[in-house]
């Protein structure tokens, strides 16, 4: 075994063989992504030819139903492909995650509408998380005015979405079958939205997760749907038996572990050549050796756990029925664990890299900022552990997705 980042990379990914296709395509894009990473951060846009290559790789459509021109790949392939992209640039991986998340609305649309939207092979959809905005129900559709934040990927999107509560003509809020105000997703071409340049953050700057607003916009009923009731979906298959929140968690886990893996690999390379002032070679330090191994174990264990969890649930999933609350808890737990492991590894690597790590251009500085932006995202919240704990203790939260 020789001293190189490859050594770390070569450690077993239990079931990786099965997903070689998507992962292999992701790996092939690695050098181009790495070469574009500075530009992506600086311009907060994905430059050509990278954007075209990403479309060609079909990695932005892994979760889109085959019926609408997507890959409809497994969640295991999805996780490992995102992880591979994130090894080269976290912002690109994040936008890949977002692209594969917004397409999850497709199974809830009327098929002809979905086909119309996604017939363009470069269709990308973006939106921000729900807030208190309301759309008014009008004849044939909805009329909406509002603003949303955190719309990652909007700078490459040709379609936008907006999650709204629905206000009926009489001023009352429309309720869903659970008796709570419904959240309806309205879709419209990006030209109808006003994109606002607000994304001034510590990291993931390349995602351009800007804000956007619309004013008195009409959206036809057919271009709207709701994600809140898994039973309303129209496309069968085990992939869609997973909940949308669950697949979000899987994608986010991949971004986090890929970023941490890249830092870990870069640190192994650094340790073999760095001798800090007044000390010996980093690689010769027993403390560093122990830490490198622990980091490797954290990444590989959390990955194997997520692989195994997804594979078991996927294998047993019904074509139609959504997976059980217990299974949702398993997905959530394995994802939260992976994100947690990634953050811990990134922090440990950063600390051990010393003063090298604070300079832009090092393999650590941007990734450190990126992972500490991810760590604040809702998918990384430690409250997920509490929710899963409630399931394990026999009292699942009421609307656990």
């Amino acid at each position: 075994m020789t001293a190189s980042p490859a050594a770390a990379q070569a450690l077993p990914r239990a079931t990786a063989g099965a997903y070689l296709d998507a992962v292999g395509r992701a790996r092939a894009l690695g050098p181009l992504i790495a070469a574009s990473a500075d530009t992506v951060e600086k311009t907060r846009r994905i430059p050509e030819p990278l954007l075209t290559e990403l479309h060609n790789s079909r990695l932005l459509r892994l979760s889109l139903p085959r019926a609408f021109g997507g890959e409809q790949d497994t969640p295991m392939a999805y996780f490992r492909a995102i992880e591979e992209i994130a090894r080269h640039d976290a912002s690109i991986a994040w936008n890949m995650f977002v692209a594969n998340s917004t397409v999850l609305i497709a199974p809830f649309l009327e098929p002809e509408i979905a086909r119309a939207i996604f017939t363009n092979p470069r269709t990308l959809m973006a939106w921000g998380p729900p807030n208190a905005c309301r759309a008014k129900a009008v004849v044939g559709g909805y009329r909406v005015t509002g603003r949303w934040d955190f719309a990652s990927g909007c700078r490459q999107a040709n379609w936008m979405g907006a999650h709204c509560n629905v206000e009926e003509a009489d001023g009352s809020l429309r309720l869903n079958r659970f008796g709570r105000p419904t959240v309806r997703t309205l879709l419209f071409p990006v030209a109808q939205a006003n994109l606002l340049d607000t994304w001034n953050t510590i990291g993931l700057r390349g995602t351009a997760s800007d804000s956007y607003s619309v004013h008195d916009l009409f959206v036809a009923e057919a271009y709207s749907s709701t994600r809140e009731d898994p039973d309303l979906r129209r496309v069968p298959g085990p992939l869609y038996a997973f909940t949308m929140q669950g697949l979000y968690a899987v994608g986010m886990a991949g971004v986090a572990t890929g970023t941490a893996r890249a830092m870990h690999e870069a640190f192994i390379a650094l340790a073999s050549k760095k001798t800090p002032r007044g000390l010996g070679l980093l690689a010769a330090s027993a403390a560093i050796q122990g830490e490198v191994a622990r980091n490797q174990a954290k990444l590989d264990a959390s990955g194997a756990y997520l692989d195994a969890t997804l594979a078991a649930i996927y294998a047993a999933a019904d074509e139609q029925a959504v997976i059980s609350v217990a299974d949702r808890g398993r997905v959530r737990l394995a994802c939260a664990n992976a994100v947690q492991a990634a953050i811990e590894v990134a922090d440990a690597v950063y600390k051990s890299a010393g003063v090298d790590a604070i300079f832009p251009g090092s393999p650590f500085e941007r990734r450190f900022r990126d992972i500490h932006t991810m760590s604040q995202q809702i998918q990384a919240r430690s409250a997920h552990f509490e929710a899963v704990g409630q399931i394990l203790l026999g009292h699942p939260p009421e609307t656990f997705l």
Partner: protein
Amino acid sequence: MSYNGTPIMHAEPSVISQAATTSGQAGALERARRVAEKLRAGTRRIEDERALPPDLLEAMHEARLFRLLLPTSIGGDETDLLTFVQVTETIAAADASAAWCLGQGSGCSMTASFLKPDVAQRLFGPRNAVLAWGAGVQGTATAVDGGYRVSGQWSFASGSRHATMLGAHCKIVEANGQPRLNAAGKQADCTALFPRAKAKVRDVWDVMGLRGTGSDTYEVTDLVVPADETLDREGMDKVVVKSTLFRLPTTIIYAGGFGGVMLGIVRGTLSDLRAIAMTKTQRGASSSMRESQVFQSDLAKMEARFRAARALLHTTVSDVWTDMHAGRALTLDHRINVRLASTHAINEGVDIVAEAYRAAGSNAIFRQLPFEQRLRDAHSVSQQVQGRPTHYMTVGRHLLDLAPDTMMFL
């Protein structure tokens, strides 16, 4: 409230070893508090300009903060060590870069105690006198008539943008080109001081955190420096001013001061965190942050770790000062104790800041709130030599009756 630098949650530190402190110190801390408010309001400008803007620099001079560790004979404060640590904490709670410059400038200003009184007065007498230098013996001082001819390049000169003087650590070479040896037969070094204007300063300071320190690179070529504007930093026996403060090596000053900087960042972060918790409810959360039992518990744990690290640093530097003030010599135990307390404050501190940042949720990633800057600053302080985890090994060796692996940071 949290954003103007006034700590909310932390009771004033108990004044420890009051008897041993010198007069005038309460004034120093009080002056620091007043300046802190201005610095807090200007922290964005400090970061964007990657230096202390003139008005804020002037406020620090007005408060005489760069004079804390100068001899009283030339209008300095000669504060005790605990007060110095508390001042760096107070300033860092407002702006870490300003505090870092203060810590570094204060350490450099200790050189005044090596100079003849009239030279010290000439160089450090002006109210805006600040000395900065880069790390390491990177230059050459060739002996010439009445002084040295100095050439070399130095990096990481924190505070170089507002410094009036720069320093250059050099190997001494005789006029004939032979290295000068000291009494122990080793290469003799000196530090030459000269006006900043004499050096070529290059702006290279583009980093993740502590951006406001302007820690540039500078060089001089064949600059002649008079002998009495040079000194031998290693020769504690050559210190001219004999009071308690100047019997301390600068390693102790840096360890205490930069420990204080990290504690200040932590204090500011926890104060900010408490402030947003008073109003924020995270998306999808069942209760407000303030009412969340998990948040309450985590906040108290962070507070406990902060208070404990702070209590250790304060009692440790206070003990050292008390002993020194009573005329006792500085022992290896003293050095080890300060090393451990400072390393612990820095390592605990960066962990607490990272945890607080995470607890603050998604707003924390935006520049509009102070969290992301404090995270970057803390993660830059921790990367500097004072925060190295290997210091624990050095201390461990001492606890096990082994000789230190290095004296460089003791």
